[in-house]
């Protein structure tokens, strides 16, 4: 078998989410994951008896909870079942889907339920991130996503006014999408005519990065059920969404090692180039009908679109300015409202393929894209520059 060729095709046949909120004081972790599991089983019209394995993941210790999968056994239904636990940083949710896909594709399990969650109100995430130290690489301090480096670089490249306006337009666009998504956490009701005011009044965090640009801290869980082609042929409650391929680009160095004389290729571009080449996609902007992207801040959202879509020069700004990433644009981006609206870290990167799959099914509710979605792209990202991309398809025809 060729590298990356699947032993058997795999489809998403169930999607379950909780609402996403800054606090869920009416639920503990077990109850929260149980809600997502109940929802995914109902969506797939299955019971736990149909599930062969559960893949569980979050950022362990963000809630100061050691081995949370042990505590959650009853909530996620893993008691007496095979189980894996995965932690890969911000991208853990996407890794859960990739791992589950591989477990089914390999033939090890027929039907897998993967579950990502985070209940950030119960811990000190920022404290955890900022105290990460790495003596090997002389790293004493981490700021997580709280960096203005990308803003500074883009301003140097394209000019301050244009970049600041594009970033705020991106932020308002995400809020407009979130307002249509009843599960989203931060739904502020921003309008484009507030753009100038928000550029002035939102508190500065660092450099040009303002509070309004940043992702939220949320509680929530997401679950998906994956199964193989032969099982799908027997019938599914909802239309299957096929996982065509996925790719991960992980660089072990940290940021301080990356800025030498020449900035190296980003893990996003590296990941996208390999994924698209393997699948014969020469123009992702034309091929994909929707892109649900992990976007921790408005500046990263802009910059990462450029990297993922392999755009050159100021093409990303032109597309943004022309509204081509809106729900009715050429390539709608983050119809869910994205990470800026909702960020329960262990679930965040799973919410991306979950949203992409809902769009393919035509099941996204108020934020469903008007045109038919046949090809969807989703991405995840986490600490130590770990990028994951997934390609989802409506039809099994590649």
């Amino acid at each position: 078998m060729k590298k990356h060729e699947k032993n058997r095709n795999v489809a998403i046949i169930g999607i379950g989410q909780t609402t996403l909120s800054s606090h869920k004081e009416d639920q503990n972790q077990v109850e929260m994951v149980a809600e997502a599991v109940r929802n995914v089983l109902a969506d797939a019209n299955m019971t736990l008896d149909d599930i062969d394995c559960i893949v569980h993941g979050n950022m362990e210790l963000f809630e100061m909870q050691f081995q949370p999968d042990m505590w959650h056994a009853l909530g996620c239904g893993s008691y007496g079942k095979e189980e894996y636990r995965i932690t890969t940083g911000g991208t853990v949710g996407a890794t859960l889907v990739c791992a589950s896909d591989s477990l089914v594709a390999s033939g090890q399990y027929d039907t897998v339920l993967c579950l990502g969650f985070e209940k950030l109100q119960e811990g000190n995430t920022t404290g955890g991130i900022t105290n990460m130290a790495d003596p090997l690489w002389f790293r004493n301090l981490q700021t997580g996503a709280l960096t203005s480096t990308t803003a500074t670089e883009m301003i140097k490249e394209f000019g301050k006014d244009r970049v600041l306006r594009a970033a705020m337009k991106y932020r308002i666009m995400m809020d407009k999408h979130a307002m249509l998504n009843e599960r989203a956490h931060r739904r502020l009701g921003l309008e484009y005519d507030q753009l100038e005011t928000l550029m002035e009044t939102s508190p500065q965090l660092v450099g040009e990065l303002r509070l309004i640009h940043m992702c939220s801290q949320s509680d929530g869980a997401c679950a998906m059920i994956l199964t193989h082609e032969d099982r799908v042929k027997k019938g599914t409650a909802k239309p299957p969404v096929w996982i065509r391929d996925h790719e991960t680009s992980h660089r072990g160095e940290n940021m301080s090692n990356l800025y030498g004389a020449q900035k190296p290729k980003s893990t996003h571009r590296d990941c996208a180039e390999r994924l698209f080449k393997r699948n014969g996609i020469t123009n992702p902007l034309e091929y994909f009908d929707v892109f649900e992207m992990y976007d921790p801040s408005a500046y990263w959202g802009l910059d990462w679109l450029r990297e993922f879509l392999l755009l050159k020069d100021d093409a990303v700004l032109k597309l943004m300015e022309a509204g081509e990433f809106d729900l009715d644009g050429k390539l709608p981006v983050n119809p869910s409202g994205g990470v800026i609206a909702s960020n329960p870290i262990g679930a965040t990167a799973m919410l991306r393929p979950a949203e992409a799959a809902l769009q393919i099914r035509g099941d996204a509710g108020g934020h469903q894209i008007k045109k038919e979605v046949r090809h969807a792209l989703a991405s995840g990202f986490g600490g130590t520059l770990w990028t994951v991309m997934l390609m989802l398809e409506k039809e099994l025809n590649w």
């Binding site: 004081e25 000190n124 931060r186 939102s202 965090l205 309004i212």
Partner: protein, 201 residues
């Protein structure tokens, strides 16, 4: 008269989930006598003041705003609540500043150079934070909800003896003539008679 009041709420005019009318209705159902609507300055939508003025309720409603105040920590929040003549400034949720107690006290002092701080919250999202309920913070300590949703309403509030008058209420808060109350906390939830004892002790 014994009044039950809430000094920290958010609505759809910034990042809250309830409209000003829904917020007032919720607190009216919970038996409150007055509320202050204190939406974030940096997210404020136009016609905020008009919307508060249009609320149809039996409650006494204060117009307020939660100010984003820059300091060496970065930024902190201070509510400014408008009476008819009086103005009340409350340093909000010090636990959320996320620094040591010693540094937090320094930051409160730093902010007090910009605003006449009249009180300091001893709650975060309505939950009691006793580490700030100490004499080293030399201001009256108030309990409040900082509510953003229906679930966030009715956790921490103040009760005081005063006429139902904005300036009288603000003066009572500034002078510390009130009692903090918390949902489900019977030990701290005193009766009206106890409140009078405290008031005149």
């Amino acid at each position: 008269m014994i009044l039950k009041g809430q000094l920290h709420t958010h609505t759809t005019f910034s990042d809250g989930a309830l409209t000003p009318q829904e917020t007032a209705d919720t607190y009216a159902r919970l038996g409150y006598d007055f509320i202050a609507i204190t939406d974030h300055d940096h997210l404020l939508k136009p016609s905020y003041g008009d919307a508060i003025g249009r609320i149809d309720t039996r409650l006494l409603v204060f117009t307020g705003i939660e100010l984003t105040v820059h300091c060496r920590k970065g930024y902190v929040h201070v509510s400014r609540i408008e009476g008819d003549k009086e103005v009340l400034h409350i340093f909000n949720h010090p636990a959320d500043v996320d620094v040591s107690l010693k540094d937090c006290i320094r930051i409160i002092g730093e902010v007090a150079e910009q605003y006449p701080i009249d009180a300091v919250e001893i709650t975060t999202h309505g939950f009691y934070t006793p580490q700030f309920d100490i004499p080293e913070i030399p201001y009256p300590k108030v309990a409040a909800d900082d509510s953003h949703t229906l679930l966030g309403c009715g956790r921490g509030w103040i009760e005081l003896e005063a006429p139902l008058d904005r300036d009288e209420i603000i003066r009572a808060v500034k002078q510390g003539r009130f009692m903090n109350c918390f949902a489900g906390d019977k030990a701290r939830r005193k009766s009206a008679a106890d409140l009078r004892l405290i008031r005149f002790a």
